[in-house]
């Protein structure tokens, strides 16, 4: 699998403050990658450098094989960007705006099909300013993928979505990554969403990548505690351990056979995240 984003020793300094202190990161083509971190950790700065919206202080960055600071229109056409603060084009019609922005690309998606895929067919004739918050976000996502980007940046994409819209959006994103081979870089505060969608996650703490990997790898790396439950003497017992396999094996030996009611629960992404952030604080 080739690389979509490669970052080596990325540093960013605002005045006397070091916001990024040597970020190393590799995002593979076709994966959904989540960047997590507490406020002020440097997520937004990192993403804006990758998007070509911000100049870095030092380090090497390659996005789709190009340094974002030197990326021209051809490079820009291969990216899709969805931010959470857009309130623009309120006087435009929904379909009118989609058609307008599609003209910037050589092989855009069909506006009608695109609106259908984000569930906005009924709103196609409405003014953008009259859409609800969730509808507005779905339109933003539609506009982000209209040019069939190879790499899509999503900033808090499901803020304001109801559970149904969120579920549909997750399906859409998974489909886009699977069918079109699109790489997705997602920043979110919703850890359940990150766990559900992301193939891999990086957690940024204090301007550095603290851990990076699948949720399981993250848990191992962070050594967050898994819980092992079983029934003994008619009572439920619980053991918190960083190595649940070893605990289960020891129980198996002690019981000299199957362990009654044995249940192993590995830590969620949220637990790993909180463990890591708690340690850093």
């Amino acid at each position: 699998m080739s690389t979509a984003v490669s970052v080596r020793g990325l540093r960013m300094r605002y005045g006397a403050a070091d916001v990024l202190r040597g970020v190393d990161l590799e995002i593979r083509r076709g994966e959904i990658f989540t960047l997590l971190g507490p406020n002020g950790a440097g997520k937004t700065t990192t993403i804006e450098i990758l998007e070509g919206f911000r100049r870095r202080s030092a380090g090497e960055v390659s996005v789709l094989g190009t340094d974002p600071e030197k990326g021209g229109d051809d490079w820009r056409a291969r990216l899709g960007i969805v931010l959470q603060n857009w309130r623009d084009h309120t006087r435009w019609g929904v379909r009118e705006l989609v058609v307008h922005l599609s003209r910037f690309y050589d092989a855009p998606r069909d506006p009608g099909e695109l609106l259908a895929s984000v569930g906005l067919t009924e709103q196609a004739g409405q003014q953008v300013g009259r859409l609800s918050g969730g509808q507005r976000r779905r339109l933003d996502v539609a506009l982000g993928i209209i040019g069939r980007p190879e790499l899509l940046f999503l900033d808090e994409p499901t803020t304001g979505f109801d559970p149904q819209a969120r579920h549909e959006f997750h399906l859409l994103l998974t489909r886009l990554a699977a069918d079109d081979g699109m790489t997705v870089v997602l920043t979110t505060h919703d850890l359940a969403e990150a766990e559900k969608l992301a193939h891999r996650t990086a957690i940024l703490v204090g301007g550095r990548i603290a851990v990076c990997g699948t949720p399981g790898e993250l848990a191992r790396e962070v050594q967050a505690q898994s819980s092992v439950r079983w029934i003994e003497d008619g009572r439920e017992r619980v053991l918190s351990t960083p190595d649940p396999s070893r605990s289960a094996w020891e129980l198996h030996r002690r019981f000299d056979g199957p362990v009654p009611g044995l249940e192993i629960r590995r830590p969620s992404l949220e637990e790993s995240y909180l463990e890591l952030i708690g340690r850093a604080a």
């Binding site: 937004t44 700065t45 993403i47 804006e48 998007e51 919206f53 911000r54 229109d73 051809d74 820009r76 056409a77 990216l79 960007i81 931010l83 959470q84 603060n85 857009w86 309130r87 623009d88 084009h89 309120t90 006087r91 435009w92 009118e96 307008h100 922005l101 003209r103 910037f104 690309y105 506009l143 040019g147 900033d155």
Partner: protein, 276 residues
């Protein structure tokens, strides 16, 4: 070429949105033309002091000049700031060729508005004020075009420097109103003290007004002009100089403004607006 083409379509679409928006329509188009009609009815019949030319004819040239000036130096900068605050500029920055298309679009929208308002003002002058059509259509055309070209890049440059739409309106409107008085567009500039006449001549509004008066007014009105002449070569030279100044100034400022746009800056601005 593609960006230019998309920008022109974008500009036309934005213009049509303005026409479909009742509030905008009343605030800009009908408001300006209605005020002009009222002025014509109120004092249009009277002659300009010491001449046989009606106030209506004199005011037509002045209102036309002010229309170009205010669209270029007030509407355009405020539109830029609003687009920056709402994220339109950033959205266009995120698409290939988006910024050239955006700027083309904004220029086209302003040109459409100037053309429409000018046509309506001339029609109102003829129908309500009984003003004779311009005596020199060619001068009317080139002064309008050059005057527009002079203020559009300048307006874009000013828009890049305004901190917010809220404070920007006051920052732009006040100097505009102050310039309106001495620029000779509402009453003869020679009625002003000489020092103020010099100040007026430093700005494009005076020269735009002078050129348009040359198109509308008879030569008998030259007694009310500085140096007793229409000074059309000077009109061309000064408006041309302002065009060059705007063209030199605007690209760098626009590049700086668009380069600084990012999601976090947009969020910061929106938070500040909410807090205010």
């Amino acid at each position: 070429m593609r960006a230019l083409r998309i920008g022109m379509r974008r500009g036309w679409a934005e213009h049509m949105h303005l026409l479909r928006n009742r509030r905008e329509l009343i605030g800009t188009l009908i408001g300006a033309v209605g005020f002009f009609a009222l002025m014509l009815l109120w004092m249009g019949d009277r002659p300009v002091k010491g001449t046989d030319v009606s106030n209506a004819t004199f005011m037509t040239a002045g209102f036309l000049a002010f229309t170009v000036f205010s669209n270029g130096l007030m509407t355009l900068p405020l539109s830029l700031v609003t687009d920056r605050e709402e994220g339109a500029l950033l959205r266009l920055r995120a698409v290939p060729g988006g910024i050239p298309a955006y700027l083309t679009g904004r220029a086209v929208t302003v040109l459409c508005q100037i053309a429409l308002q000018s046509a309506l003002l001339v029609a109102t002058a003829v129908l309500v004020g009984g003003v004779a059509p311009p005596r020199d259509w060619l001068t009317l055309a080139w002064v309008l075009v050059l005057g527009t070209v002079a203020v559009v890049p300048l307006g874009a440059a000013i828009g890049c420097l305004l901190p917010s739409s809220k404070s920007g309106a006051g920052m732009v409107a006040l100097p505009m109103m102050l310039l309106l008085v001495p620029s000779g567009v509402m009453f003869p500039v020679t009625a002003m003290p000489e020092a103020i006449q010099w100040v007026a001549q430093a700005f494009p509004l005076y020269w735009q007004g002078l050129g348009l008066r040359a198109a509308f007014l008879p030569d008998s009105m030259l007694v009310a002009e500085i140096a007793g002449s229409w000074r059309l070569p000077y009109v061309a030279a000064v408006l041309g100089a302002w065009t060059v100044a705007g063209m030199l100034l605007a690209p760098g400022l626009i590049r700086r403004m668009t380069r600084r746009e990012s999601g976090s800056r947009l969020a910061e601005r929106q938070l500040a607006t909410q807090a205010a």
